[in-house]
């Protein structure tokens, strides 16, 4: 019964930080709807005659509460009654534009578009009601899901309008842009402490994640992975023993993979274990942490390092500097370790693939799957489920591709669940890095020249030409190196290095390591200049007053400068993450105690101050900041991925340890009230922790640790170096 809608596409045009990505979010002006049909004015929402408003969430729900937040944005301008709001997570469709969740972008990219989607639908509903009463729309108002004619007091609920009245008003792109949106002072839904919609089903076990998918006649697959992460080739497959396993169905041997299929998960595991595959380990069989860092050290002096960010004249300023200082920082590989191991269910029937999983990047997955499987993109349907953690892992379509290839062969729905060991060994890690920084100080201690080289593997290179810039650099491997301090002469160079270990995007991505170097080095320079680290930063934040404000706020709330017990110190770090263009201004003060005998670091307290502009859901925001800070503690204290024999040496949570409850410090979060356009919150907090903690260790002991994670042996080595 839906009428055909005049679809007009307009660009919300968010451009991903210089990468060749143009974000299209097509939004259609409300189309005409027959009376009694559901009113489906645009890609963002549907109103049914029962009065329920379903907001279509094209972002992945992975714990950040995005469904609730985006629904609040729509509900605000729609003037819907919150109790009528529902959300769904639709299957991919070109009408949704770029389906990508990451970068702390969700609210930032959609706030304006979704506000206008809600407002346009409200205006169309008012128009329809007014016409039915033969009155002027100017005399009508919409409030809590009801249109009222003020002079007569007549009223129609939204559901009644949809059921009974033709809705004919449509909007051109220009008209959409011209809609006057509410002022923040008029908000009634945005900024409210509204409970998250996804939480009730997450406490009863009813919430469905990708791994909870079952299809009739479904079988289980296990892939046999090579012993080396990249570059191994398969020599022979012997499935004679596997065939004897109870429940064995088939062996699938393809150029891309070899897998077994069985009637149950445990039978598939047994058959996989019985399958004999021999491999030529290939060129990366001896790749190790040592060989990778040796390669990085060579690249450090690469005269051809590509300038990425440049201003002023560094060479002259460095020569003219009164004092110079340099330091080298390293960080190790970090794994995602999302709690839900990667998995997927695929049904291949009638030439089309129905894919059940949780994806952070459906657009990329559809393109990759269509190309790999040799079908049109319209034959790929990703049925979006809740994500049992994303953190960037579910940007990757690798497991969807494997499952689809197997499903095509076996002609039955296939469920593939990776074990934790497979999940970790086949992850796309945050790159290990080496960064060298050099600065020249003037007589007054201020920085006159800044020179930095960032050596890392760049994930975008693996993804393809759309994900690197003209110089072949992935912006997302470098963000943050272009900090916001007022330094007249700066150059940042980048050397992307291939190592045989594929890298990806792990929560907060490059700013984890770029700000570790920037903010630790800033502390070193403050010491050299003989200035308090907070004062030193503030003296260079003239062009970033919102960052200066959160620095002051965090310092004040943390009791900066007040005495602490022995071996205990406070460190600060401030960031313009995730991207300089759309920063969430974040500063954290970390208080830590160092055991001088063992080098063990206890994080005691974190005080974080944040200015992210308008806050859509205050408790959701707080929850994201808390989680991002603790993710940072886990990264900074514990997580060290090492490479041996061309693969990650760790295999599960026993040797790749993440933060547990007994290691959780007290956290205190202060959010600056603001009416600025909103940015994002899922990641910035994470990036403050490693540098603030390294700075706290220095404050406690006078020892400078320049390697993340800040492991006890590294702290001990720094203590010895100091002595």
């Amino acid at each position: 019964m839906k009428t055909s809608l005049t679809r007009r596409t307009f660009l919300a045009s968010a451009t991903a930080a210089g990468a060749a990505l143009t974000i299209r979010f097509p939004l259609v002006g409300p189309g005409a709807a027959d009376a009694a049909a559901a009113y489906d004015p645009n890609a963002a929402l549907t109103i049914t005659p029962d009065g329920l408003v379903t907001v279509h969430i094209t972002k992945a729900e992975m714990g950040q509460g995005v469904g609730t937040a985006l629904a609040q944005i729509v509900a605000e301008e729609l003037e819907a009654d919150w109790k009528d709001i529902r959300v769904d997570y639709p299957t991919n469709d070109p009408k949704y534009g770029l389906m990508l969740t990451g970068g702390s972008w969700s609210v930032n990219w959609t706030f304006d578009t979704l506000s206008r989607a809600g407002a346009a639908a409200r205006l169309a509903l008012i128009d329809a009601a007014a016409k039915s009463w033969n009155v002027s729309p100017a005399d009508c108002v919409a409030e809590r899901g009801v249109v009222r004619h003020l002079p007569s007091g007549r009223a129609l609920r939204y559901g009644e309008i949809v059921a009974r009245v033709p809705i004919t008003k449509t909007f051109s792109e220009d008209e959409l842009k011209q809609i006057t949106l509410k002022k923040p002072s008029e908000y009634r839904v945005v900024g409210q402490w509204i409970p998250r919609l996804d939480i009730p089903e997450k406490v009863t076990g009813k919430a469905k994640f990708g791994i909870d998918t079952f299809l009739p006649n479904m079988v289980y697959a296990k892939v046999v992975y090579p012993p080396v992460r990249e570059g191994a080739t398969r020599k022979a497959v012997d499935d004679s023993a596997a065939k004897g396993v109870k429940g064995y169905i088939a062996t699938v041997t393809l150029p891309q993979l070899v897998a077994v299929v069985a009637t149950s998960y445990e039978a598939a595991v047994k058959a996989r274990d019985a399958l004999k595959v021999t491999w030529d380990p290939g060129p990366n069989a001896n790749v190790s942490t040592e060989s990778i860092f040796a390669k990085f050290a060579q690249a450090k002096d690469d005269p051809n390092a590509t300038p990425w960010h440049e201003q002023g004249d560094v060479k002259s300023a460095m020569i003219g500097a009164a004092r110079r200082h340099e330091a080298t920082y390293t960080t190790d590989y970090v794994a995602h370790m999302q709690m839900e191991p990667m998995n997927c269910v695929v049904r291949f029937a009638d030439g089309a693939y129905d894919i059940y999983t949780g994806s952070q990047f459906q657009t990329f997955a559809v393109g990759t799957l269509a190309a790999t499987l040799g079908v049109d993109a319209s034959k790929i349907r990703i049925h979006q489920q809740y994500l049992g953690g994303g953190f960037g892992r579910r940007l990757e379509p690798d497991v969807m591709v494997e499952t689809a290839l197997i499903a095509r062969e076996v002609k039955r729905p296939v469920k593939l669940i990776r074990s934790r060991e497979e999940d970790l060994k086949r992850d796309f890690y945050r790159s290990a890095t080496l960064q060298s920084v050099r600065a020249g100080l003037g007589n007054d201690g201020k920085i006159v020249a800044w020179e930095k080289t960032v050596i890392a593997s760049h994930p975008g290179k693996r993804w393809g030409p759309d994900f690197v810039d003209k110089k072949g650099l992935d912006q997302f491997a470098l963000n943050g190196a272009d900090h916001v301090y007022d330094i007249p002469n700066q150059i940042v160079r980048a050397v992307p290095v291939e190592t045989g270990i594929p890298v990806g995007y792990v929560r907060a991505v490059a700013p984890n390591y770029t700000f570790f170097a920037v903010e630790t080095f800033m502390d070193e320079l403050a010491k050299l200049a003989g200035v308090d680290p907070v004062e030193y930063r503030l003296s260079m934040l003239g062009s970033a007053p919102r960052l200066a404000r959160v620095v002051k706020l965090a310092a004040e709330k943390a009791g900066w400068g007040t005495p602490l017990p022995p071996n205990t110190g406070r460190g600060i770090a401030c960031v313009s993450a995730q991207e300089k263009k759309t920063p969430t201004w974040t500063a954290s003060v970390v208080q830590a105690r160092v055991d001088p005998g063992t080098g063990k670091v206890e994080v005691q307290k974190i005080v974080c101050a944040v200015d992210c502009g308008i806050v859509v859901n205050p408790d959701g925001a707080r929850s994201q900041i808390e989680g991002s800070l603790l993710f940072g503690v886990s990264n900074a204290l514990k997580e060290r991925g090492t490479i041996a024999n061309g693969t990650l040496a760790q295999s599960n949570f026993h040797d790749y340890q993440v933060l547990r409850m007994n290691e959780v410090p007290e956290t205190e979060v202060h959010i600056v009230p603001s009416t600025e356009y909103p940015t994002g919150l899922g990641e910035p907090g994470t990036t403050t922790i490693a540098p603030a903690l390294s700075n706290a260790i220095f404050a406690a002991t006078g020892a400078r640790v320049r390697q993340v994670p800040l492991l006890p042996d590294r702290v001990l080595a720094a203590l010895r170096a100091k002595a």
């Binding site: 409970p195 997450k202 909870d212 445990e266 370790m337 953690g389 989680g627 409850m661 007994n662």
Partner: protein, 152 residues
Amino acid sequence: MATLLINGKSHTVDVDPGTPLLWVIRERLQLTGTKFGCGVAQCGACTVHLDGQAVRSCQTTVAQAAGKKITTIEGLDPAGRHPLQVAWIAEQVPQCGYCQSGQIMSAAALLARNPNPSDKDIVNAMSGNLCRCATYPRIKRAIKRAAQGVRS
């Protein structure tokens, strides 16, 4: 063949006695609230109760579970209104939510044997349950809230 008593209901399943209880609960019986996280008793996502004790179902065989009362998150409270579940909503604990069934099952076993746990008791009982979203501060608050509710 094995007979398992899960949430008060008897299930007969055709599996090897050495099969991990987790895979029977999840993939055979489709009680999917119990989650697979690590397979080696390191994360707690698969926590269920065996005669009231919190156990990791990934390391519990069907043979070990047979004859005992097995409770999963689906059976913790018929209406999903166990004091912990109520407290979990009040404190808005979950983020991605994947580990939360295991967290709640561990916490329920704790409160059953210690209705008034100290901070230390909570940390001791809960440090085997990982949450990569790091909702730990809220988990702690929710357990205290539920404990107060249970006592009053």
